[in-house]
């Protein structure tokens, strides 16, 4: 009874809180900020803002880091007969991506796509991990960025699928053989939707996974300010736990994004239906 009577009260409080934008700082924290403004460019009637934002900065930092580290390990591997230190670790990760992600899901043709998947894995992993460092920003926690990465996968799927099977062959291959004629219209719609769902799922999965952890950590920290210092040990313990979980998630999501991309591209090239 008390719950029922309290409900309207609670709801009004909630909406008040929302209108007062008390929790906005969490969103503020995980969303993008401009750090270097460039006036919008009008391309085809759409104003596109090319300003450098924190996310772009983070991606540039990650890319620079990757270029430096990887070229260093490449030269180090060329010099040494057997890899040492950092280069050895990089090679270990490369072998993992090669033997446990790309080749099992794509087969032998995967060898041609190795540089693409290496870059994808290392880029997502680096961006994910950079986001865990204090004062840094998780670029993969932005839906535009994950959407662009997913669209790269989508374009690769379409391009290589059409290149291998021909334009009509590719779209015909999407529909399974032996489908009765009266189911065909439905199947066309379903297969077309599934084609679009693949990159969409990739995009949302990475974005949500990378954002959720941050929001949970921030919510635990915000409990300190709303409930007082009594809650500090609980907040810190749980934040730490979520933080450790986020390290796992950062690794896992890079792995999942790469393995699904390789699977999708492999499926587009070798249509089994």
């Amino acid at each position: 009874m008390t719950l029922l009577t309290a409900l309207p009260d609670t709801l009004s409080q909630v909406t008040d809180a929302a209108h007062n934008e008390e929790g906005n700082w969490i969103i503020e924290h995980v969303s993008d900020h401009k750090i270097f403004s460039i006036p919008p460019v009008n391309i085809g009637g759409v104003n596109i803002d090319f300003s450098i934002t924190t996310n772009i900065l983070m991606m540039l930092i990650a890319s620079t880091l990757l270029v430096i580290v990887l070229t260093y390990s490449a030269s180090s591997n060329k010099k040494n007969k057997h890899p040492k230190g950092l280069a050895n670790f990089i090679e270990l990760v490369m072998l993992f991506v090669k033997d446990d992600i790309v080749l099992p899901s794509m087969g032998k043709i995967g060898v041609n796509f190795l540089p693409f998947f290496f870059t994808m894995f290392f880029f997502i992993l680096t961006v994910n991990l950079l986001g865990l460092i204090p004062f840094m920003h998780t670029a993969t926690g932005n839906v535009s960025i994950t959407a662009s990465l997913a669209s790269v996968t989508f374009v690769m799927m379409m391009f290589h699928g059409i290149k291998k099977n021909g334009f009509f062959g590719y779209f015909k291959g999407l529909i399974p053989h032996g489908v009765p004629l009266y189911v065909l219209p439905v199947m066309v719609i379903i297969e077309f939707l599934s084609l679009l769902t693949k990159p969409f799922a990739l995009c949302i999965r990475l974005f949500a996974n990378m954002t959720a952890g941050h929001i949970v950590i921030l919510a635990f920290i915000s409990l300190i300010f709303t409930l007082g210092y009594v809650i500090v040990p609980v907040s810190i313990a749980f934040s730490l736990f979520i933080y450790l979980l986020e390290i796992l998630v950062a690794l896992l999501q890079a792995y999942i994004f790469t393995i699904l991309s390789s699977l999708f591209i492999g499926m587009a090239i070798e249509q089994e239906h």
Binding site: S31, I48, V67, M94, F118, V143, V152
Partner: protein, 189 residues
């Protein structure tokens, strides 16, 4: 109740801000920004191209080279192992042969030595027996000769003594015969 309120408020806030708001130009979590997308694709494609040329190719080449090297050395090690086993087998065979050989030689030499020893012993025995017999024969002969000469001597002495004693000139031949007859009647020894 308070905690529930706060959580609900935050949840509501998040939902409110995640959902895209059309019309307003406001930052939300799900708002898609073309500028950011173009930047991301640009950065990613450039990264792929740069890393492909300067990092992945050399790294993969080094990896392949090393993989090949490892494969080669394993094959070589396998080959060498087989070779070594073959040599070991041969050595063992040779060693066994040598053992057999030495045993044979030893046996042969033992047999030879035994044979020689028995031969030598029998020969020595024969020789000794022969020498003994010869010596016995010699002694016998000497003894007979000595007896004969003694007989002659005694006969002569007896003739001379008898001649002196009886001083009678007898026919020596007759006397000799007589004495010989006498001596012969004397038992031997």
């Amino acid at each position: 109740m308070l905690i529930a309120n706060i959580f609900l408020a935050q949840f509501y806030n998040i939902i409110l801000f995640i959902s895209p708001q059309t019309g307003e130009n406001k930052d939300t979590l799900l708002s898609v920004e073309p500028g950011l997308i173009i930047w991301t694709i640009l950065i990613f494609i450039l990264l792929v191209l740069i890393l492909k040329k300067y990092a992945w190719k050399p790294l993969l080449d080094a990896l392949d080279e090393r993989e090949k090297g490892i494969k080669d050395s394993i094959e070589k090690a396998e080959y060498l192992k087989q070779e070594a086993e073959k040599i070991l087998e041969e050595n063992k065979k040779m060693l066994a042969g040598a053992d057999e050989e030495s045993r044979k030689i030893l046996n042969e030499s033992k047999q030879l030595a035994n044979k020689m020893r028995t031969e030598l012993i029998s020969k020595t025995n024969d020789d000794a027996a022969k020498i003994l017999m010869q010596a016995k024969a010699e002694i016998e002969r000497e003894k007979i000769a000595a007896l004969n000469s003694l007989k002659d001597e005694i006969a002569d002495l007896a003739v001379k003594a008898a001649g002196k004693i009886i001083d009678e000139n007898l026919d020596t031949d007759k006397q000799k015969k007589l004495i010989e007859n006498f001596i012969n009647k004397i038992p031997q020894n």
